[in-house]
Symmetry: none
DNA sequence: AATGAATGAGCATTCATTCAT
DNA sequence: TATGAATGAATGCTCATTCAT
């Protein structure tokens, strides 16, 4: 029982450290963030951070992965109630952008992680990416099967969707004083969906709110 | 004449330093890049770098700006021969992605700069962004006036286009083993254009090559 | 107990660093002294110095303050056994000069600190100065009350005494091959005391040994 | 004739550089003063400074020597009209302190030079010192011969005088908000003179204005 | 002679990581 | 297991000095 208690405590501690790490990396970037400060904010000793994460880099990738997990959960939850495929795509897209809008520090870490790839995407991140792609592919296939969506190649369509959503989130810094991230994504996604939906795609359809 | 010679030489030297800086920042990122190494690669003394750029940060932003200038020139050149608006948009989009495909170190610096914004986009970068937006707005307005493009709001449309192109370039790392950057952009752009072009937007139109 | 041990050790370490810093600043001056060297001499790691002193400057002022503390202790001790005021003044003056004679590295740091003031005397130094003035004022007032010293304004008299002692210590470098610092101070102080003592101040009194 | 013109010009240029050097060394101290800045302020090219002074150190000692020359001229001029020895001593002392009061940048350089001695007084400075001592010795001997001053050992008396004046000038930073440098020197000098003048040295004599 | 661009040695400071307690 | 004192490699930046023009 002692072991369990201890395990649970450690689990909590690790999550606290990760949460503070996200904030620190968001604030200062990977290189400028200070492990000392993260430890202080997490309320643990300096060396303790190194008992949970071998290196600062491991801490960073764990923190970015936590962001991905939260993002994934948020997106999956958003589509749980959706019936139609188009509806699900819209909901997922809005959830994707909305998550970063609601958690700016996650966005900052997300951007930071993209820069830190330097050509080497960690396996965990690649797996997350694949899962997300799979999720969208399934929605699309469901939509195609149900006659809601034109029979496009699912993977390349998802890739294009990915560009739009990833782009909206990354590009948002240029328009943040004009519109919110979710509006940006809604708009761009709307235009894309207008082009792939079955039936006469009128201008109205493309530009009206999702 | 002495002055001119000297000025010309200094101009050249500065550009050499910037070129090597782009490579170094691409390779190691802003924080890990070593000014000493940049100096060596540029064939100048250490202190000389600091005669041309007050700080490493100034060097970094100058380098990223040089990337933007090259990118801008490449894009502008690509549309110089285009007649139609849709044609120009396709050409510009392909040039945008093609530039980063042909210059991976510029892409790396581009990504790095996005991460280093940390909420503060340098004025020079914002101005570049505005010019690019203006360029696309003019193309769109020309297309609308010529009846080639549906009467959408130009700015928000350009913003969506921006998301797609920016997104393709940033998102490319996830698909680089499946398709090239320009293919990715072509595909995503095609889907978007399919949705904004006048006339019945058929599935065929949206997915066929640009 | 663990805490105490650690605290005590750190206290010792800090004092060792300060002691070596005094030597280094004495040898090379503030600007030329190398923190690396101080660390080595103190037998601690480089970074350790910065755990105890935020900056080289803080280390310098701490070192100069340690000199003042030693000086103050030496002077106060010297007058503890004195009965008469004149006797105390003589003893204090000799202790003042004698301290620097016995600790040349303290003298060098003392001089260095005077140069580094640049118009801004650190609060701690000003406070030390005030305490010293107060000490001498009290001696003088005791001497005046006891009829041993003429009723001069204590503060301006102490200021003049300060000039003589400070001057002797600073001026000593010009005469060091002719007489020792304490002799110099004794001589100058003797002349000054000859002028303020009650009774006919004969030449003999002014120039004879204190 | 060309040569002469050139020589004269160089003479002027050198003095301009020295004058600006004094200001710079006074402002920032020897180590922190920037030769580049001195050159700019002097209105000459950077390298030109090095045509007139082999090293920064040589420039510094030349600058400090210029201070001494000005000081010496000021002091010598002050006593040119004095008849009596006591009168001359007072005048010289006041001129000494008054010079630094009127030229704070010279005082700063003077202090800086004391710190930079590090045990090695430059020959030129030692010679100046000797000349000053000689000047005062002659005044004293004249005073003794004329019966105005008691037959003290001239050299040790001058040394004590030196302590008082040097001390007043160096010590002034502690009392600058209470009295001016010249007042400080006047006061301290008055006390000392009260002690060495022939005749009954009353308290009044010692403390009344010079 | 005058200039100022070029140089690189030198140094303060930071911070990830280790390890004794 | 938790801690935080200790470490020293790493690096941005300065500035005295040189030398080609």
């Amino acid at each position: 029982m002692n072991g369990r208690k201890s395990e649970a405590r450690m689990q909590v501690k690790q999550e606290v450290i990760l949460a503070r790490a996200i904030e620190a990396f968001a604030e200062d970037g990977f290189r400028d963030a200070d492990v000392q400060v993260i430890a202080e904010k997490a309320g643990v000793g300096y060396g303790t951070v190194y008992r949970y994460f071998r290196t600062k880099e491991e801490l960073f990738w764990s923190a970015t992965y936590m962001v991905l997990e939260r993002l994934g959960a948020h997106v999956r939850e958003s589509i749980s109630q959706c019936r139609g495929a188009i509806e699900a795509l819209r909901a997922a897209g809005l959830a994707y952008a909305g998550f970063f809008e609601a958690n700016p520090e996650c966005l900052a870490v997300f951007v930071e992680s993209r820069a830190e790839f330097h050509g080497r995407i960690p396996a965990s991140h690649r797996e997350f990416h694949e899962k997300m792609v799979q999720l969208f592919v399934e929605i699309l296939e469901r939509g195609v099967a149900g006659g809601e969506i034109r029979p496009l190649d699912p993977r390349s369509t998802v890739t294009s969707l990915g560009c739009v959503l990833y782009g909206a989130v990354m590009f948002g810094c240029y328009v943040e004083d004009q519109c919110r991230l979710s509006e940006l994504a809604e708009q761009a996604l709307g235009m894309l969906l207008g082009g792939i939906r079955v039936g006469p795609s009128t201008g109205e359809a493309a530009s009206r709110p999702l």
